[in-house]
Amino acid sequence: MKQLKHVLLVDDSDATNAMNSYFLRRVHADADIHVAKNGRDALKYLQTPNENTGKLPNPDLILLDLKMPVLDGFGFLEQHQELFPIVPKEQVIVVLSTSMNEEDKKEVARYKPVQGFLHKPLTVRKVEEIVTNYF
């Protein structure tokens, strides 16, 4: 199984981010996990070069919530598409939401880097499935 090196969690809940980080580390112990609390902070992170390398962050996986303040998941995807028209081959976005709405699923599927739509909560099994199915 591929080991994830760099993961970006985008969710406004500290508690959810803490639990999701725990599960990710259970399977990908060495992963560098960065947390953004809304779409705007996530985009800002992706556009800020690393201080040491000068390179832009390039997470293998972005786990994206949909309903967030400031800039929600849909807004993030729209702007992400404009900012990064060529998405690195190895970068995958998986939506992690409590939404059961089929329209939401169809809407996010329009965006090329979105490979999956999972329902919260995240579990170790879902982390394994993400890597098996999308990498």
């Binding site: 969710d11 406004d12 809940s13 500290d14 508690a15 959810t16 803490a18 639990m19 999701n20 725990y22 599960f23 259970r26 919530d65 309903k67 303040p69 409590t98 919260k120 909560p121 995240l122 579990t123 170790v124 099994r125």
Partner: protein, 117 residues
């Protein structure tokens, strides 16, 4: 009707890690509920909905079933544009779920004295 447990067991989450993470959840739920009440008092239903949604997701991540179900009920009442009375009742039920889960967490899981609120 039988109540669901306060927490359902989460696979691959050991007891020590759960106890370490639990205070983050309890603190966030309290803060979110306080914001929900402010929204309710100001008739800001968007804020009420956002906070209920946040509580539902966070509680679900920890298997805190009573709270996630209570928060989902508040969201459902909002979606169905039910009466103010029904909204107040659903918020009251969420508050009970929150308080009883908090007391259970502190007393049974973290072995701490439960302060009066």
């Amino acid at each position: 009707m039988e109540q669901p447990p306060f927490f359902v067991k989460i696979k691959y989450l050991d007891e020590a890690s759960f106890q370490k993470l639990l205070p983050i959840l309890l603190s966030e739920l309290k803060e979110s509920f306080d914001q929900l009440i402010i929204g309710l008092k100001q008739a800001n239903l968007k804020q009420v909905g956002m906070m209920a949604h946040k509580m539902k997701g966070a509680a679900a991540s920890f298997g805190a079933v009573r709270i996630s179900e209570g928060a989902a009920r508040v969201e459902k009442v909002l979606r169905e544009h039910a009466s103010g009375n029904e909204l107040s009742k659903s918020v009251e039920m969420l508050q009970i779920a929150l308080e009883t889960t908090r007391q259970y967490s502190l007393k049974e899981l973290m072995n701490k004295d439960v302060p009066d609120t």
